[in-house]
Symmetry: C2
Subunit: 354 residues, 2 copies
Amino acid sequence: MIDAGQLTDFGAEVLTSLDVPADDAHLVADSLVTADLCGHPSHGMLRLPWYVARLRSGVMQPITAPELVVDIGALAVMDAHQGVGQVVTDRACTEAVARAEEHGVGVVAVRNSNHFGTAAYWTRRMAQAGCVGILTTNGSPAMAPWGGTRKTVGANPWSVAAPAGTRDPVVLDIANTGVARGKIYAAAQRGEPIPDTWAIDENGVPTTDPKVAVHGLLAPMGGHKGYGISFIMDVLSGVLTGSGYAEQVVGPYVPDQQSNCGHLVLALRVDAFLPAEQFAVRMEDLIQTTKSVPLADGTREIFYPGEIEARAERAGRLRGVDLPAQTLSDLRELGDSCGLSFDELTGHTGTAVG
Amino acid sequence: MIDAGQLTDFGAEVLTSLDVPADDAHLVADSLVTADLCGHPSHGMLRLPWYVARLRSGVMQPITAPELVVDIGALAVMDAHQGVGQVVTDRACTEAVARAEEHGVGVVAVRNSNHFGTAAYWTRRMAQAGCVGILTTNGSPAMAPWGGTRKTVGANPWSVAAPAGTRDPVVLDIANTGVARGKIYAAAQRGEPIPDTWAIDENGVPTTDPKVAVHGLLAPMGGHKGYGISFIMDVLSGVLTGSGYAEQVVGPYVPDQQSNCGHLVLALRVDAFLPAEQFAVRMEDLIQTTKSVPLADGTREIFYPGEIEARAERAGRLRGVDLPAQTLSDLRELGDSCGLSFDELTGHTGTAVG
């Protein structure tokens, strides 16, 4: 177990050593560690070495200097100029929330960005600021269009979050594949097989080998519906924003090519629609109604979207983060390459846990 | 085969006989006939008798008089006061597009509405007006929350559409169930069994009997993901708008209870983000890329979202509408009850085709 705060500090130190400003570095590290805490290691510190490789190659800029190329009150278009995805998205969400403060709704379209971690991290912050937050992104091709055999459609995650009174915010975060590609990487790191519904190999045959699946095609969530959703998320995130789309988008695990990904941020200020207290009461009532439904066999509790993650994060901040052995080893090596000792900075014993 | 124009006129005459103004009546009928033409009879003229029953009972108002209870530039909240769902949604979309004309984005939240037909009908109109159109709604409970055994979650359809240059607009329209409940009604009308993945009976056992499924639970699209999406669509459509949510929402097939459903409309004016011509070129390129992917065995063509429906509608407007025998019989009876002859008004021979 590693203390979440120390792990975050380690990540921030690594990024600072590569000329990322301290606050930005801390934000990126926090977004990754939070994903680990929430039970999504596929989007956690596993990814820090990828980011570092992209900073070193120069395709991602350590100093994020986004530019508003359209700025018309409720709406803005931001050119991220290849900045760090998390920093870009922080600026975009802050802009959207500020515009919603004045107009009830704020929209920020982002082009030329980079991978921003989990979408939920950002929409949850908008929810904590009193908004319904909506965030879409595109990603590198992961699926064939329905009926095709070549990847042109990304997993294109999208998230919607809303404040929920005294409850943790409702947070939906969906990749339009049956599973996120990161889960296949995580399985490959653990050396475990995957269910045969997650991916097909290059010839269209289902596979349980994550190493084969990485080079194959992911299946869309819900068949043709997931294809349709992912297609439209590319329209919103890539085509509309003026960023790359379809095969133009490059994944964060590629060290030396610009990402070309884009995002669309929408913030809807709750109290523009109805009094915030009334919204809170209604959300708590919806959640109560949902959680009171009689349980199916084998179910111990009904959860609302985001509840499991919020609970896991709270526990993990007390108990520590449990990283897979491969990730620990990768982070130790990464620290060494930056002149930083992972074990010293995190207080880790050096024994692989996972 | 029935001429689409004549079928629309019949529907309009029926509604006019119940005091719906002529333009509104025509709009409702067109929305239903368009669904039939697009290959979605579950949302077509099959539903006209339901609407009539609701007008007759007084729970739906023939004269739609929506009121803007919030009006702050880019954003408005509309109380539909139990008006006709299609007429309400037409007004809301028109408002959203007009606000987007000035602010780049327009948001209209609708409370106390009624069933509006297919969501795609409305987002496509926003796309034709130069906007990315987004529309969500909630509906009566159709699914249990994930792990539960009682219905609290609607199918809660949502749609996103975008103009696509010289192509028909891209139109996504998703119900968050594995299938729309209307498809089960349509199967019941045809007397055909349903796949065992569509629904479970009241005891949680999969069923192939559509008559049993109508009283059972629909399964969510993509398992827990579909549950999460549908939950959040209820937050957007019901909780945020100040309308009903969860078990408060009543389906359009119930003749004598207020619907309490709500909708959220967002319009994003394309040329606020980038020049419309550039957007058109990019959309055409995305579609071309998608349709050029090598085909899987058994596939003859790759379609983009909305393409199949647009093609079917065009053909149907020339060729006529093919309604199931039960729907024909129901419409004939409905006409009789309004003092209108279905066969005379539609030029139908009286022979059931289906």
